[in-house]
Symmetry: C2
Subunit: 414 residues, 2 copies
Amino acid sequence: MYLKELLSKAKQAKYDVQKLTKEQKNNVLLKVADAFIKHADIIISENEKDIAYAVEKGMSDGLIDRLRLTLPRIEGMSEGLRQITDLEDPTGRVLEEFKPANGLHVKKVSVPLGLIGVIYESRPNVTADAFGLCFMAGNAVVLKGGSDAIHSNRVIVKIIREVLEKEGHNPDILSFVDSTKRETVMELMKMNEYIDVLIPRGGASLIQSVVNNSTIPVIETGTGNCHIYVDDSADLNEAVKIILNAKTQRIGVCNACESLLIHNSIYESFLPTLEKALKEKNVEIRADEISATILKDCIPATEEDYYKEYLDYIISIKIVNNVDEAITHINKYNTHHSDAILTKNMNNAEKFLNEVDSACVYVNASTRFTDGFEFGFGAEIGISTQKLHARGPMGLKELNTYKYEIIGNGQIRG
Amino acid sequence: MYLKELLSKAKQAKYDVQKLTKEQKNNVLLKVADAFIKHADIIISENEKDIAYAVEKGMSDGLIDRLRLTLPRIEGMSEGLRQITDLEDPTGRVLEEFKPANGLHVKKVSVPLGLIGVIYESRPNVTADAFGLCFMAGNAVVLKGGSDAIHSNRVIVKIIREVLEKEGHNPDILSFVDSTKRETVMELMKMNEYIDVLIPRGGASLIQSVVNNSTIPVIETGTGNCHIYVDDSADLNEAVKIILNAKTQRIGVCNACESLLIHNSIYESFLPTLEKALKEKNVEIRADEISATILKDCIPATEEDYYKEYLDYIISIKIVNNVDEAITHINKYNTHHSDAILTKNMNNAEKFLNEVDSACVYVNASTRFTDGFEFGFGAEIGISTQKLHARGPMGLKELNTYKYEIIGNGQIRG
């Protein structure tokens, strides 16, 4: 009952938010950004309750760090919202316009998705960030954050709702599932009558749980088993730099490289240099039998390794006979996120671009560029690894759908 | 095990079909069209087995008619495939091209969805039709048709696979789940590892079952509780014609009108004329209290009526005070398919276009135009009523997704 009541109001609010102008949306986001700074002490003291509980529970330092809100982090949340106001409102764009034989005037126009549900883990900054992006794209939002961050999320939501209300808007444009019960999330994921789209944000197990349990359309994001294939004609100095960047510039992100394929005519000369560079960054190598004959220090790669998104200082290596074998391997093991070929052979590059089944396919560049900001979208709600709707980095435009607006003068169908 | 083996081959075939040229795809479709005619007698004799079983089971005449394949219907299937060859190949279109600050060259290119699963009911012509459309859009297809049509479907699939093989292509581009077990469909709907997208085609209960049980992304199609709102300034002669067309030109289709809203300042003068016209077509009226005071022959409308997709000679009527009330009613009861306003007031028309949450919103035209052929798409796999991916009529373009092809010259992320 609690959920149905909450979502009924949220569903009503989705029609209200669609009527707001860009100026009204900017005004709300700027006021919320100010309110975060003004109430930083309250946010921090509520956050301390979550931290205290996490410490008591024996949560790891890494996870506690993710959970913690400091003044600089609150300033970061504010700045994030301010930046969204600089972006173009994605709604109301005329995507196509045509007159079929029946004489109707058809316009295909971008419109908000409606009510977006976001299910996420323990980073409380996602609360502000997800709201800001969905809101600027004209959507109402219902948030279900991790139980560990409930005090932090509750106060952030309260501040946003107060601004909405004070500015004369429906506060239910942002709803918050204030529950730590697992049953409530399960129930939420079946609320097709109210929620148009669900976006899970977090680790692979959260995302799998949403994909497996939701009857609402889901945008699957963020699992990246990204590959780099070093072709026989690759510039090997450049290859070392790109591999190092893709593996180690930032560990624990979905666009990091997890697996390396190397052409069999170059591995003997290439691997010693590469191994040295990887070892300097303390990267552990899981190698197939052939590359193990050259490598000084490696662990045998298992079949499971090739499926693995390590998110760690580990990389798997396999030697292949040609670009076709590389493509077949990638299409078998990847997560359709980002894969790269390093080559000077433009035929092989083109083959790779055409045949690798991923959202982003690179020639001679690091996989780390798969990112809404790097693509110039100015924002990112996530990176889609599914085929429906959006693929790759999702900015504001990807938080819209379209409708057909059709004007006639009495047409009936014969 | 049967399914996994079948789908492993189908998954491999999805990479093969993507390499075919438009000419190769045309050639296959034309050869299949010929083969249907050549083997019409075998198709009909297999279909007779299904018919005999249906008669024995006591299936209704209407359903048996849907199931039956005659020579003209087989010719229709052939002609459908020939027509697909006239359409543009939707793959490989450059949708966007840009150079972000990092200097990468990014192309957003249309590509096939991959392996599409189609789950449908007892119309065996869907077997040819769904294959033809998905195939021209570069996809492999796995079909699961209704058990009642299993002999018909089996022989149609066999003919298509034989052509594929004879033309030197992988026959697994088309797979067929040759099973009448319910467990097999349930299992199929969880095969995320192999199938990229599921499209159910059939009645509301089939579609709901797929939406509720699939973990694979689904495109929800075809349920239409379509409304027409007659505003106070509408041309009432035109209104009668449009309502009659939308309700009775074809019963049992998703774009037929099921519910009528009428402005309270015109219902007294409008309803007698409308009732006369509807009665001539034997349309039963389910009316609210106000309209019942004017109507000669009607049944009281219940809350349930307003949610109903009758697909029959029945229409519900409700009187509203203004366009806002009409919009609120529609957004509460509709299925986000197609809704129309009849008006001369351009402010009300614009409000209606903006605020009604449907795939297709009409001004002064029949809802019956929501159709891929009427929109000039030249084909239609279904009409999407969800927000993700495609909305409204889905043609070949909507059977594609996109990928980003990114060319660099050694870029690493700083």
